[in-house]
């Protein structure tokens, strides 16, 4: 038999362990290990398997020293104590220390509090749908642990505590829902924890050929797109990301220093309207369908010279924005000289063979456009192979791709093509982003994964301006129709079999749709959504205050419901027909005679009334006898009960 105190400590520590496991991925391993070791030790001590540490002089000092050491260790490993990850790690080691010195039930309560804080840190770190059940289970456990800690007698079994807290939580679900819908969401931040530059997958603002190949095996979603109307064909789905124009022979980089205004763009064709829900990328740019015209975010800056979308703060949480794009554009002015210089710069001592080839091709063609076509033809006809494993690259990376290995990925071909263009004096740049996406028929949206990452080239042609040329399209035309997984299935032995299965693919769609719903309806729910909801509920011009009123009304209704629901369990049993009639009779009698004491039986009372009012004695006695017979006798027929009720009704003085 476990003592009440041991049970309390074990319950609190188990909740702590659950919370630690929830944030284990967001904290350094050594912190997690310290926390788990401390928790294990604490439970063993509580169960009496290990002797507790005896108090000794200077123990307080030693604990203080350990605390200081751990805080410094955290500070050193993160180089800051500010920030979610550092805060989480700090919470972990502090919780572990609290476990080491916890003795009383109050300490157990503090451990539960720390666990709930860690749960909060976990929710702040990731809100993905798959983790929500884990969060809820931990909340449930924490509530049960609160009951166990509060129970001093030890009479409450863990099962009873779990049942109690499950019931309490279930009853609070309506309130939580109402709060979620109507509790006014204050716009803006009160303070900002420094977000950590977590190593995230996805595109960066530099590209080394082959770098895209690394993220191409990353199956996680990058963003989802919901189109207004019909989606454009797959081959036009070029999702524009960072534009790179500075090449050192190996790596393309985004040129941040120089700014040159671009000419105005004329948008051609029908506008395409869509809404993108972007997963947190920790980067300062957004993606949009090429070429983007307007974006619904106020903090977005559309750069004129390369149509890249920048935001002021890195994207740390999932964001949604509406955008309008056109598939065709025309530049209304010439390229500025400064820009032309920048977009044709090449390191002179690199890739000599590619440069020679470019100059040769240019000499044999009449215009830049013809030259571009000829170069594409060369890419098509020279046995280049599209592969994820292009082999080692040398310092002359373009030459290796074109002449030696003849193998490459989109990044290699884009880099090689842009180099050739620049070598012949045609302004060229690399655009990175995504190509295509997977249509989710369940949810009716397009899912773009990291594996759809792509790189292509843009060259400046007089008359039309920047024109997209995708050399990968001539090397591997199928890429425009299929995803990487279908195209290069031999590279993903495991993934390909997964992707082939029909019903698994359907499950995949369902799950992604659930995620999308979660994202759009729950995670993106904000003040604007709240006001929209009020409008749907019939408020013409909803405001913050009305939201408050709606919230208050919901709260009052919930409290009323809870009071009623909980009262049912403890209500005294209502008397039956016989009992009710007898109560009526005694109330009538109380007007002319002493009232019946709560414990007084019918005959006893009748005798007392009779002594008080001898004139009524006979009637009262008959009534009480009838009641006693009905109540305690073998069987009372309906007729008898009705007679008794009539007697009571006729009772008057």
């Amino acid at each position: 038999m476990v003592s009440a105190a041991a049970r309390s400590t074990s319950a609190a520590t188990l909740v702590f362990v659950a919370s630690v496991l929830l944030i284990a991925t967001a904290a350094p391993a050594w912190c997690v290990v310290i926390a788990l070791v401390a928790a294990t030790w604490r439970i063993l001590v509580a169960l009496g398997k290990v002797a507790p540490v005896k108090r000794f002089a200077g123990m307080r000092f030693m604990l203080g020293a350990i605390t200081a050491a751990l805080v410094i260790a955290v500070a050193l490993s993160f180089r800051t104590l500010n920030g979610l990850a550092a805060g989480t790690a700090l919470l972990l080691v502090m919780g572990a220390l609290k476990l080491l010195e916890s003795r009383s039930r109050r300490d157990d309560g503090i451990v539960i509090g720390v666990s709930l804080f860690m749960l909060l840190a976990g929710a702040l770190a990731t809100q993905s749908l798959i983790r929500v059940p884990l969060y809820l289970l931990t909340v449930w456990g924490a509530c049960a642990a609160i009951a166990v800690v509060a129970d001093r007698s030890g009479a409450l079994t863990p099962k009873a505590a779990l049942r109690l807290s499950a019931r309490a939580l279930a009853m609070s679900v309506p309130l939580a829902a109402a709060c979620f819908l109507f509790f006014p969401r204050v716009a803006g931040q009160f303070w900002a924890l420094q977000r950590d530059d977590e190593a995230s997958s996805g595109l960066s603002d530099e590209m080394t050929p082959g770098g895209i190949g690394r993220i191409a095996i990353d199956y996680v979603p990058a963003f989802r797109v919901r189109f207004e109307g019909e989606p454009p064909p797959q081959r036009d789905l070029y999702w524009r990301g960072p534009v790179l124009n500075n090449f050192d022979g190996l790596t393309w980089r985004r040129n941040r220093a120089t700014y040159h205004p671009g000419a105005r763009l004329e948008m051609l064709g029908a506008p395409i309207r869509y809404r993108i829900t972007l997963e947190p990328s920790q980067k300062r740019w957004l993606f949009a369908l090429d070429s983007v015209d307007t974006v619904s975010r106020r903090d977005v800056f559309i750069s004129f010279q390369d149509r890249q979308l920048s935001v002021l703060e890195p994207i740390t949480s999932t964001v949604s924005y509406d955008a309008v794009s056109y598939l065709n554009t025309r530049s209304q002015g010439p390229l500025a000289n400064a820009a032309r210089r920048l977009e044709t710069a090449l390191p002179l001592d690199r890739n000599p063979r590619a440069r020679a080839l470019a100059l040769d091709l240019r000499a044999r063609t009449g215009s830049d456009a013809e030259f571009a076509r000829a170069a594409l033809g060369w890419f098509r006809d020279n046995g280049l192979e599209y592969t994820l494993e292009p082999g080692v690259t040398t310092i002359d990376s373009v030459d290796t791709t074109l002449f030696d290995s003849k193998r490459g990925f989109c990044g290699h071909f884009a880099s090689a093509y842009a180099t050739m263009m620049r070598a012949a004096g045609v302004p060229a740049r690399i655009v990175t982003g995504y190509l295509g996406g997977e249509w989710n028929p369940v949810g009716g949206y397009l899912l773009v994964r990291q594996s759809d990452a792509h790189a292509w080239t843009e060259i400046w042609l007089e008359g039309t301006g920047w024109t997209r040329i995708d050399p990968t399209a001539v090397v591997a035309p199928e890429r425009l129709q299929l995803g990487i997984f279908d195209l290069l299935s031999e590279s993903f032995a495991g993934a390909s079999s997964f992707r082939r299965s029909q019903w698994l693919s359907h499950l995949d769609h369902l799950w992604d749709n659930a995620n999308q719903w979660w994202q759009e309806r729950v995670l993106d729910f904000n003040l604007r959504s709240q006001l929209d909801l009020l409008r749907k509920l019939g408020f013409d011009s909803p405001s913050w205050q009305q939201l408050g009123w709606a919230f208050t009304a919901g709260l009052v209704a919930w409290i009323a419901w809870v009071s009623l629901a909980l009262r049912r369990g403890v209500a005294r049993k209502k008397p039956d027909r016989i009992g009710r009639a007898w109560l009526r009779a005694t109330r009538k009698l109380a007007r002319v005679a002493p009232a019946r004491a709560p414990t007084e039986g019918p005959m006893e009372y009748a005798r007392r009334v009779g002594a008080h009012r001898p004139d009524l004695a006979a009637r009262i006695d008959a009534l009480a006898s009838l009641y006693a017979r009905l109540r305690f006798g073998r069987d009372a027929s309906h007729q008898d009960v009705a007679n008794f009720e009539r007697e009571v009704r006729n009772l008057s003085f």
Binding site: L116, L169, A176, C179, G569, T599
Partner: protein, 331 residues
């Protein structure tokens, strides 16, 4: 917290508690048992743990709003609702309980007196961990099963001879989550007596006999019929004259008297000494000793006298006399 501040807050708390008690007393008036604890008389406030929980939820709310984090907000709202449900559950645990009876169990000074509080639960759910307390008492917790009764045994430390009056019984509970404490006051007249401690080395007065100087020998079962008297509560059923009852003469008790009527007479005036308390303690010691030996003894305290008798009831009557002597209260 510095010691002075802690003391200050303690005084403040005590003061508030007293005012609250006085207010409730004015509001509720006197009660008569049995009493059913209605919602009108149940008070509820968060405990320290409850306040900490509220602070935690508030911080979670701020964090959730700050980061517009829907999951954090959901957890926060769920916990907030949980807290309110906890208040309801605690309140519900107390309302509807009935206090049936309160009985004091007398004891000697220095021992623990007991106050037995009988609680009844007519509901379908058990009332767990209901604490019963009186001013200066040792809190007792009981579980009252569904549709049953339970008796809380509140200890009272007895420091002075006399009547320990209880004018208020507090029922409280913080079940199930300890985040809230609900309590109620029941204002009733109850109490118990603190008997003087049996203490003293003096020789007891010798046995006397109403028949003269007979030897001081007590002979059991050598008693003579002495008549019938009215039944008094506490009399054994074996003493009841059932034959007389059958003849419709009501409940009567047969009494006997020892022919020799050997007894001791304890007289306060005969106990020397200046300190009244010491003299009463001496009497108490004699009574306890005589009772243990099964002797008959009488007691005289100034103008009051208890005729020689024996048995538990007589012992209690004598000790009650000692407890109340000089307090101005009748016994």
């Amino acid at each position: 917290m510095p010691a002075a501040a802690r003391k200050g807050s303690g005084v403040l708390k005590e003061n508030l508690r007293r005012r609250m008690g006085a207010w409730a007393r004015r509001r509720q008036g006197d009660d008569r048992l049995p009493i059913i604890i209605s919602t009108r008389r149940v008070y509820i406030l968060p405990t320290r743990a409850g306040l900490a929980f509220a602070a935690l939820v508030f911080m979670m709310l701020i964090a959730g709003l700050n980061y517009t984090n829907s999951v954090a907000l959901m957890i926060t709202f769920l916990l907030a609702g949980f807290g309110m449900i906890a208040a309801h559950l605690t309140h519900r645990n107390l309302t509807g309980v009935a206090m049936r009876a309160v009985a004091g169990v007398d004891a000697f000074v220095g021992e623990h007196g007991r106050l037995l509080v009988t609680l009844e639960n007519s509901a379908d759910t058990a009332r767990l961990d209901i604490e019963c307390d009186v001013t200066g008492g040792v809190r007792a917790a009981v579980d009252v099963p569904a549709g049953g009764t339970a008796r809380a045994d509140v200890g009272l430390s007895l420091e002075r001879r006399g009547r320990i009056a209880v004018d208020r019984v507090t029922l409280s509970t913080s079940f199930p989550f300890g985040l809230f404490r609900a309590w109620t006051y029941v204002h009733i007249k109850a109490g118990l007596l603190a008997w003087p401690v049996p203490r003293g080395r003096r020789e007891a007065p010798p046995e006397a006999s109403s028949g003269g100087n007979a030897p001081a020998v007590h002979r059991v079962g050598d008693e003579e019929w002495a008549g019938l008297r009215e039944f008094r509560s506490g009399d054994s059923p074996r003493q009841v004259a059932w034959g007389a009852y059958a003849r419709g003469r009501g409940l009567l008790v047969k009494t006997y008297q020892s022919p020799a009527a050997h007894h001791r007479l304890f007289d306060l005036a005969a106990v020397p000494g200046a300190d009244l308390e010491q003299r009463l303690e001496q009497l108490s010691a004699w009574i306890v000793a005589a009772h243990a030996r099964g002797e008959r003894y009488g007691l005289r305290l100034a103008e009051h006298a208890l005729l020689p008798d024996s048995g538990n009831e007589h012992r209690a009557r004598c000790l009650n006399g000692l407890a109340l002597f000089g307090t101005g209260e009748a016994w």
